[in-house]
């Protein structure tokens, strides 16, 4: 019975992935990708990885879906107009390119088929090394938390997590570099829509509390900094959509502090450990639990701020030229 569920879920994930790439319209693609992310989240629950499932559903399906939908708004309306022009041009041209497209298509299919066989054989024959479960289990009492995934993320492999916060910040800087920093100049204009106002009033405290709960529960069960950060980031996105862009309302230095506090605090803590004679990110076992909770809170604040800023910047990206066009 359980095997049947797994097979159905696997087929569903493959079907949704194929459909999201084959769908003729971009909107369909994006929504099928949403569904694919959620199907994958279910698969992860089946595999006992609840932390991964929450992260997938929240960041990969939720946050990325929002970014895609936001991008669609700019790509679709003018795009369709353009496509008609393009089709007209293509119809005017003599159609001699069907034959030349056939050969690469065949080669691609053949190559993919071969690659699929190789990949299937490779994953089937991955050697059984026993994994690191036993090592993690043995060291769990010293980590200061009871949940093994949190112990690995913030204690055993804290270095990875620290670098990851840096990667998110780097992603934000890259988005800034591409789009230009317009984020702080947007005039603050609250929404007139009463429904959206009520939604913001209702969801802001709920999301905040739920995020804090996930952050705290990470000590004993599935949850933690990343999951909490997405919920807090959702508050920022909601406020932004409601006409209250957080980063133009707070002073600039405060925004920068929020963005860097996770990375900075983690690093300062690491240096303090080194100064105390330990290695980088080697928590003293007696205080590990408290320190991990503080680090997680700082990291969650930073990641939430970075996600909000990424969304805000992408959201305003295509408003710039539109405004210029309208004033011209």
């Amino acid at each position: 019975m359980s095997v049947l569920i797994d097979i159905i879920l696997a087929i569903l994930a493959v079907y949704l992935a194929l459909q999201s790439l084959l769908a003729p319209r971009l909107t369909q693609s994006v929504f099928l990708f949403f569904a694919f992310g959620l199907a994958l989240a279910l698969a992860w629950i089946r595999l006992g990885a609840v932390d991964v499932a929450i992260t997938e559903a929240a960041i990969a399906a939720g946050f990325l879906g929002v970014l895609f939908l936001d991008a669609l708004r700019d790509f679709s309306p003018r795009g369709s107009e353009k496509k008609e022009n393009l089709e007209a041009v293509q119809n005017a041209l003599p159609k001699n390119n069907t034959k030349s497209l056939l050969l690469p298509g065949m080669a691609l299919m053949l190559g993919l088929g071969l690659f699929l066989l190789i990949a299937l054989e490779a994953v089937w024959k991955i050697p059984d090394g026993g994994g690191l479960t036993a090592a993690a289990e043995a060291l769990l009492p010293e980590s200061g938390v009871e949940h093994p995934v949190t112990a690995v993320l913030l204690n055993f492999r804290a270095y990875d997590t620290w670098l990851e916060i840096g990667v998110i910040l780097l992603g934000l800087l890259a988005v800034f570099a591409v789009g230009g920093i317009k984020i702080y100049r947007k005039p603050v204009m609250a929404t007139q829509d009463p429904l959206l106002r009520q939604v913001i009033l209702f969801f802001t405290p709920v999301l905040f509390l739920f995020g804090a709960f996930l952050l705290y529960i990470g000590k004993t069960g599935p949850g933690g900094a990343f999951q909490a950060a997405v919920l807090w980031g959702a508050i920022g996105i909601l406020l932004h959509l409601g006409g209250r862009p957080v980063f133009s309302m707070i002073p600039r230095w405060l925004g920068q502090l929020l963005l860097t506090i996770g990375l900075g605090f983690f690093l300062i803590l690491g240096f303090l450990f080194i100064a105390g004679g330990a290695t980088l990110f080697e928590y003293p076992p007696a205080h590990a639990g408290v320190l991990i909770l503080i680090v997680e809170t700082m990291a969650a604040i930073s990641i939430a701020a970075a996600l909000t800023a990424i969304f805000a910047n992408l959201n305003q990206m295509n408003e710039g030229p539109n405004e210029i066009e309208s004033t011209n």
Partner: protein
């Protein structure tokens, strides 16, 4: 057939679908979606092997790696999206075309 075996096979299929999508699809957004599907395949391999190595709980190291990986993948997808929108803004192109 064990649960993890089903999902390792699925992960290989997803990876290949993603690669095919990168080559075959034209639009920037579809290419980004294809890379995310490819990444999903890789993560699925990790997590299903974590389930294989489970004792009292599933192997937490691949789980932590995958959580980190998802967040990094999303950050890079956001950057790719920013690049795609910038290209569209400046040139009006929504895919890589060489026939002009």
């Amino acid at each position: 057939m064990e649960t993890y075996q089903i999902y390792t096979l699925t992960s290989a299929v997803l990876f290949v679908i993603g690669i095919g999508g990168i080559f075959a699809s034209k639009h920037f957004i579809k290419k980004i979606i294809a890379t995310m599907i490819m990444g999903g395949g890789v993560f699925l391999t990790f997590v299903s092997l974590a389930e294989r190595d489970a004792l009292a709980f599933a192997d937490p190291v691949p789980h932590a790696l995958v959580i980190t990986g998802i967040v990094v993948a999303v950050a890079s997808a956001a950057f790719a999206l920013a690049l795609a929108r910038r290209i569209y803004q400046l040139t009006g192109e929504e895919s890589f075309t060489d026939d002009k």
